[in-house]
Symmetry: C2
Subunit: 700 residues, 2 copies
């Protein structure tokens, strides 16, 4: 064993016998010239066992095993003892791993069909499941050639990712009088060279730009353009299209193409870089029309559901791994979106990326490790305009990339996008804004101030730490009502697929229903009759049976346990405490709030009445609530269209004051008070109390 | 046979059997990932013969031959039929090839010691030489394994490259009050992060810069810096050194290093990128002291002596080949200069390159092909500030590179450097400036105008096309006098090494002496007695024997032929005609010239009196002549020290008006008149005439 020459903090079993250096598995695989070139041309790599040195390619010694994943028969070869979750990542198979391999979320369930693995004990699998071959991938080491089945609930499903909606698109595309792309395409007819006019090609180009009124004193170019210039200008009789990248205080000619080659559309791309899901919009830069869209899971999910686990993973495996995962997700989505309209990625010349601070850092390969350590400092808040080629995004290499600025480590560009889109920073009245996604970020403010905070809601709303919790994927129970007397559930699932689990909105529905139907008390504790057919116990805890033995693979009951309720209450309490503290800071209460805007992927399925019932949202006039869809993608789209919006985003980020709850003494108190249904102070929920009484009287 | 997939204009014998594509020899060899990665991992390459497909690695078929070069025993394997000059290039052996392999210069003389080559007939080798095994490398194809001797006259010799001289260095280093590097290093103490001050690392950095008075609104950064920032700021308690690259209208933070790592000198590099030789100065950016220097042949010489041949070569083999040759020459010299002072290339953060327009284009990989075609348009005149990493120069990858601007295709940055250094553009009086190097560029002007032109002097002054002509390398006859009656020559050579040939200054001496001693007439024709022991005939032409059978390898006589004289007269006539036309354009004559500045590698060995005698220089007061050394490197050095000088260089380039002689009707007339010794109009050379008469009377 030794330490990788590229990553001195990693121990590795591989040694290059030619150069006598250790290399970790990532370095063996990667072809990144920065890392790999030192060892090219490829040279014999040996695998070290306790017995001594053996070539990793020595098949007769059989220190490598084959893993076949069913269905699909994807095959990978891994060394003995490899973690099954890592093997699935190597095979590029999506396995939900919310807790980043800690063994605590119980999501990475795989079924061993043949062969042996060494699995740690876990209470997250029932005996019945264990009998059927279920293991947690992250807790299993490969000891032989194995065949693994990916059960229905673990397979990557289409995520019901939120878009702006058609209406919003229409509204937004009329927002600007003139589209100002990041990379402007300028058709030019250069003067033909003569013996009387012998200035260089580049001078000829800038002269033409000057004639059109451009300030060439602030314009530069680069070596790539100079190399292509000679041929480009002569290809179509000195008729060209110059692409100019506008930066903060200067501009750069980034491409010059013959006019004759320039018949294709110039495209833009807006990206919502979510922790869970990524959404890509392809936009025609000529008129702002959204031509196509695609969304999918952020591949980084293999390193954990929440941003903290992602950072931990980046510290362990290097930020490059997370960067690669995010870039490949975006590139796959870009390809899908472009293929559907038969356009080429080289036409994408403008990109805006909106994501939380940790996601943008990891996408760009920037360390995010100090964001999770007091005093929570991000490396960058305002990103310079970059080029797609520098990041590795599938687009014209010179495409200008604007990354939404983020004011703090836990309030990022996605929230700035949200403010930009909803526009409440221009109103005199006060708005309370919340984006409930994987994280919960809150903004309170008006045209005079913007105060922001992030509440560690935990992963419960996204299904994390909940026995049958899941994201809003196909088969997730998203709405549920209990019959007044029998408590028989009636539910609907995403895409009406057979129930596989329950997502955030379903859990809020269920909690509210159980409270109203008095199956639980205001403290969340079960008060249901133990002999009720829907009552059961799981790991010595009371639980409510939502559906009997319906799970496709395991035929287990889908249940909602006492622990699940506890997790959900902690999450909702954190959000409500966040609202309270933010208002308290500026000497306000909920009555001064003119509107409450809910955005984010989770918010779209939320039943506001039920969320108030459990005390997640405040008990204010219902007409004050507005759901505004995926405001992160909407803000990114706006910034794509106009420099006014890009500047406005920077101004919004600069205006925001971040309040850190972890150093706020009042927060813990409010948090404790909110761990009750709806709240220890019933006066805060006057309308709910009434509703409840009424319902109680009905059921009595 | 097929065409290379990377270079469709090249036919090739190599095919990749795995990918079924053709690859030219360059592509087989190069490891440039842009070109080569398509075919990685390395795959079987086959060599096609008429018989069919055979593996190039198949030794038994013997389609490849070994070439061993003596002395040194450098060995290369080449395919059958390979040109011997190309084989020497592959072996990285310097072989003079002034005419770029046309077979016309006769410089690439090699001796075949064993094995067979197929050589074309040539009159450039005597029968005696042919008997000894001499061949012209460019005219010979390899048919067997061979051993080749590189004769003394062909071996790379130390070039007597001109520097600024110690005096000039001292004078120049005191020129500026404050050194303004291209990349400024700014030590900063950032505020330590606290819960009350949670701005990002980058904002913390820019805040510190703002405190020092920097205009951060015009400052940006890049992804590389953002990636290193997290660790850099924390390595030494938020004490860092920021490197800021100053551009035309903005600046970029290009590096941030922990203060503790920054104990080494910041270095600068001035480069004179000559067609023949390249000179590198290493400068301490703290005080402007020149710490070391190195000079050597431009490796591009393998593609011809003059700029036209270089362009032709770039059109044939791709500009990348020429780029690589120039970059590797500079990098080798940089290494040599840095090694001598035990400093590291990563400390080089500032680079200024001064070269003619074609040299700078080729160095940067920019096409120069239209410079040789009417109306002679360069691609770029004013280069943006680039980074060393973009060009491939051995330096800090973020080192700022300023390339001296050049006003025209045939008057480039080296001439702008010359004006900057000599400073005559600030004088009221008129100056005539000439840089006699591989090209001859002239500037006429004062503080009101600068008119410039290039005269196609041809390669004679550099030894091209002259039987025993050579550059000012070791063993070149640089000064020569003939005894009054016997005409016995007395000469001195460069470094006092045994005579191997004659360089430009030697030829001017000799021509002047032969004219004064009446061995030739004013038309340059031999009038020497045919029975004189120093008289001989070569290829049916009269010739003067400078030295009997002294050449080390061939034991041939070193002679000066009628053709040599003709070539030299054409060259000097072109220069003189250039002066005349330039003056005529502005309605002046030589009498209005206040000073005549001669610079350039060739100029330093020039005997002004003798140059006037043959009519190369005008017959004006001798005290008006000033030799100012290598003004290209001196100008580059000045630009390295200060932004004032860099701006001044741009201003000089913009002020220059280029006069194209090829489209000037008067030029041919003046050129014809000047093809006489010293000139058809004897009145132009009143003082020479007198001298001559006096000498004639002595010899009579």
């Amino acid at each position: 064993m030794g330490n990788c020459i590229n990553h001195p903090d990693r121990e590795t079993n591989y040694i290059c016998m030619k150069h006598n250096i250790f290399l970790c598995e990532e370095c063996l695989e990667c072809r990144d010239p920065d890392i790999y070139c030192k060892f090219r041309p490829s040279c014999p790599i040996y695998f070290i066992t306790k017995k001594g040195f053996e070539s990793s390619e020595n098949e007769t010694e059989k220190k490598e095993y084959t893993v076949i994943f069913e269905p699909g028969k994807k095959k990978v070869t891994v060394s003995a003892g490899t973690n099954l979750l890592k093997a699935s990542q190597k095979a590029d198979i999506y396995v939900n791993a919310s807790c980043n391999g800690k063994g605590s979320c119980g999501k990475c369930r795989l079924i061993i069909q043949s062969g042996k693995v060494d699995s740690k004990k876990t209470s997250l699998l029932s005996d019945k499941e264990k009998e059927k071959g279920y293991v947690l991938a992250c807790q299993s080491k490969i000891l032989e050639d194995i065949i693994v089945k990916i059960p229905e609930e673990t397979i990557e499903k289409k995520l019901k990712a939120a878009g702006m909606g058609e209406q919003a698109t229409k509204k937004l595309s009329g927002l600007v009088e003139k589209i100002e792309p990041i990379v402007e395409k300028i058709p030019l007819q250069l003067d033909l060279p003569t013996l009387e006019d012998t200035v260089s090609d580049l001078d000829r180009l800038t002269r033409a730009l000057k004639k059109l009124g451009y300030d060439i004193s602030k314009m530069s170019t680069n070596i790539r353009v100079m190399r292509q210039l000679t041929a480009s200008v002569r290809n179509d009789h000195f008729k060209v299209v110059a692409s100019v990248l506008w930066k903060k205080c200067s501009s750069e000619i980034v491409d010059v193409s013959p006019a004759a080659h320039d018949e294709k559309k110039s495209l833009g791309m807006a990206v919502d870089l979510g922790t869970t899901s990524i959404v890509v919009y392809i936009v025609n830069m000529a008129d702002g029309a959204v031509l196509s869209a695609a969304s999918g899971h952020n591949r980084q999910a293999a390193c954990g559901d929440d941003v903290i686990n992602r950072i931990i993973c980046s510290e362990k495996d290097g930020v490059g791994k997370l960067k690669k995962m995010a870039v490949s997700t975006i590139n796959n989505l870009t390809k899908r979106a472009l293929d559907s309209i038969e356009e080429d990625h080289k036409q994408v010349e403008n990109i805006v990326i909106s994501g939380n601070t940790i996601m943008t850092h990891l996408l760009l390969g920037i360390e995010a490790k100090y964001i999770r350590r007091e005093p929570y400092i991000p490396t960058v808040s305002q990103f310079p305009i970059m080029k797609a080629g520098e990041i590795g995004l599938k687009a014209a290499p010179y495409a200008g990339v604007f990354v939404m600025p983020g004011p703090a480590g836990y309030v990022g560009g996605d929230i700035v996008s949200g403010v930009l889109y909803t526009g409440f920073h221009q109103l005199e009245e006060f708005t309370l804004f919340i984006d409930i996604g994987t994280n919960g970020e809150i903004v309170l403010g008006n045209n005079e101030f913007l105060m922001t905070a992030a509440c560690s809601a935990g992963p419960a709303f996204e299904g994390g730490g909940i026995r049958w919790g899941m994201r809003a994927e196909d088969g997730a129970i998203e709405k549920i009502i209990l019959a007044p007397d029998s408590f028989e559930p009636a539910y609907s699932t995403v895409e009406n697929k057979p129930a596989r689990g329950i997502c955030g909105s379903g859990m809020i529905d269920l909690l509210s229903e159980m409270l109203l139907k008095q199956l639980i008390g205001q403290d969340g504790k079960f008060i249901m009759e133990p002999d009720h057919p829907r009552f059961t116990r799981f790991n010595d805890e009371p639980a409510f049976i939502i559906e009997f033995g319906k799970n496709i693979d395991s035929e287990e009951d889908i249940i909602f346990t006492q622990s699940d309720i506890k997790s959900l209450i902690l999450s909702k309490a954190a959000v409500y405490a966040g609202f309270s503290i933010l208002l308290e800071q500026v000497g306000m209460d909920f009555s001064s709030v003119h509107q409450m805007i809910i955005t984010g992927g989770f918010g779209q399925y939320l039943d506001v009445e039920k969320a108030i019932t459990i005390g997640l949202l405040p008990d204010i006039e219902r007409e004050k609530f507005k759901y505004m869809g995926n405001s992160s993608i909407a803000g990114a789209y706006m910034a794509l269209l106009s420099n006014t919006f890009r500047s406005r985003a920077v101004a919004i980020s600069n205006t925001m004051t971040y309040l850190d709850f972890s150093s706020n003494n009042g927060f813990m108190e409010e948090f404790t008070k909110a761990q009750f249904l709806p709240h220890t102070d019933a006066n805060l929920f006057p309308n709910i109390h009434k509703t409840k009484t009424r319902k109680e009287s009905v059921s009595c």
